[in-house]
């Protein structure tokens, strides 16, 4: 677990529309990488290309490579379903399966992978819920539907569901943008803990959050309307926020951060 990602010359398209151009960057194992940038610059698109979720959009296309500890997830013969089992994802809007119990939600990924052993599922449920800082709140109602939890709890349930399969990488697309400040703090604390075991990539529009949780930050931008989004720079988070090397980064950060 906890593998490194090497993204090389990634170009992403929706039909004819060139959404993202020439992204090359490294994501280190057991660290948090934040993607920041104005809305529409392609952060989510790049993130979704990492676990081959980009291609579920009809007409979409990927060029370039994404290496997971050296193995290209886009190599011919690689099954996207398998890729998604090793690179987990948490979405902007918490999306537990509403009709499934909390327990079934947590182990949904394991069940899909064919795990049937009751005892193992029981262990994983507890371990994942503890890992997502949710165990104490839900341990007495594991059989209640996942749709009955609060927004913040639902998002932590989704994180528990994602880490239950012990993924190599965990992708998060604005996981706190629909949450109140207290739930947001809970998730940020959780991210800090999870990075001991997982490689995490998080998209956030909240720069304070990027500064708080991430080790390195990638700034994406749109050079002009209608043009593809680009990676402007990537670097150690402290440096990006205090002393960026690109003017565009500095403008963006000082415009909203300073």
């Amino acid at each position: 677990m906890a593998k490194r990602l090497d993204i090389k010359d990634l170009n992403l398209y929706y039909n004819k529309f060139h959404a993202v151009r020439d992204v090359t960057l490294q994501v280190h194992a057991r660290s948090v990488t934040a993607f920041i940038g104005p809305s529409g610059c392609g952060k989510s698109t790049v993130l979704r290309a990492l676990n081959r979720m980009h291609e579920v959009v009809p007409g979409s296309r990927v060029e370039g490579s994404v290496l997971l500890d050296g193995e290209n997830v886009y190599a011919p013969g690689v099954d996207p379903v398998q890729v998604r089992r090793t690179i987990g994802m948490v979405f902007q809007r918490a999306n537990p399966f509403p009709t499934m119990s909390i327990r079934d939600n947590v182990v949904a990924g394991l069940k899909l992978a064919g795990v049937k052993d009751k005892k193992r599922l029981e262990e994983v449920t507890e371990r994942s819920l503890r890992g997502a800082n949710l165990w104490e709140e839900v341990k007495d109602r594991l059989n209640k539907p996942g749709g009955g939890l609060s927004g913040g709890q639902q998002q932590r349930l989704c994180i528990a569901r994602a880490i239950a399969v012990q993924p190599d990488v965990l992708l998060m697309d604005e996981p706190c943008s629909a949450l109140d400040p207290i739930s947001t703090l809970a998730i940020e604390d959780l991210i800090a803990e999870l990075k001991k075991d997982y490689t995490i990539v998080i998209v956030t529009h909240n720069m304070q959050q990027a500064a708080r949780v991430s080790d390195q930050t990638a700034f994406f931008n749109l050079p002009a309307v209608g043009e593809p989004g680009q990676l402007v720079e990537i670097g150690e988070t402290g440096k990006i926020f205090s002393n960026p090397s690109q003017k565009a980064t500095e403008d963006y950060i000082s415009g909203r951060f300073g």
Binding site: M53, F91, N95, P96, A108, L112, R161
Partner: protein, 353 residues
Amino acid sequence: MTESTNSERRSAPPGETGNTLVEPPETPVPEEPVTPPSEPGEKKVVRLGDRVFQSVATGSGIFVVAIIAAIGLFLLVRAIPALHANEANFLLSGQWRTGDPENMAFGIIDLAWITVASSLVALILAMPVAGGIALFLTQYAPKVLARPFAYVVDLLAAVPSVIYGLWGALVLAPVLKPVAVRLNETLGWIPIFADGNVPAGSGSNVFTAGIVLAVMILPIITGVAREVFARTPAVQIEGALALGATKWEVVRTTVWPFGRSGFVGGAMLGLGRALGETVALTVILSYTFEGPHYSIFDAGATFASRIALGSAEFNNNLTVGAYIAAGLVLFISTFAVNAIARWIESGSARGKE
């Protein structure tokens, strides 16, 4: 995008889906700043357009309900005298002697059996096919294929029922003969496949009728199912995909749980249609004086085909009343089935959080 849909769904008060039409629409937020209401108890401003819309909507609603009530009342008023003159038990007798108004004996049990049996055969056959087609069209088929295919399925609804009847009697029945004989021979020990009141090879039985009805109700069920399956929230489907679900597992974990009750509601709508189908069954089912053996190889009349066949007898009020009494039972059953269908469907729309 999905976010706003979701929050709308969330904020809708549960259990009020049915009332939306008659509820006063919300006053739109005016562009110019509004002065706060100075006098307490002042009337709320309602735009003229809203008022017109509200009365038109309420009016049409009341109109429809009034028509249905009037039909029910008409059936009831005409049926009661005939039921008084009836010498047999209306619900439990299988006789149908209505020609002489002085000496009438009629009951609906045989009609009920043929009607229910052919409709259930239709439902059992049509439900899996319709569900499969709807899943294929919404989840698997590429867009270029899904559109024409859906259109073709909808076309099935455009074929007149008399054509279905002729097709069933002249084309399908001969084809089905060997199948029916075979079923009857091998599974005859199960009562439902035992010998009917006509030879299994005759083809003009509930078995053939059920298959034709299945084709006829296929577009209704498929249409409803397509709609509910397509409504599965994209975030749910993506959630399953991101966990490493295959297409089929996505269907099993998200599309089906979301669409299930709507699908059952659609099937109920189809059942309502099958129960009331007249012309096709009048053509397909052969007439027999022997009572049913409670097998799918029975022939006989349904409520609707009995009434259609009896029109020659409609020469005095009591005889007509007997047929109307049968029609009333059919009316109540289809009404109940449709009401259940709507109830299940609306449950599927509001039950999900």
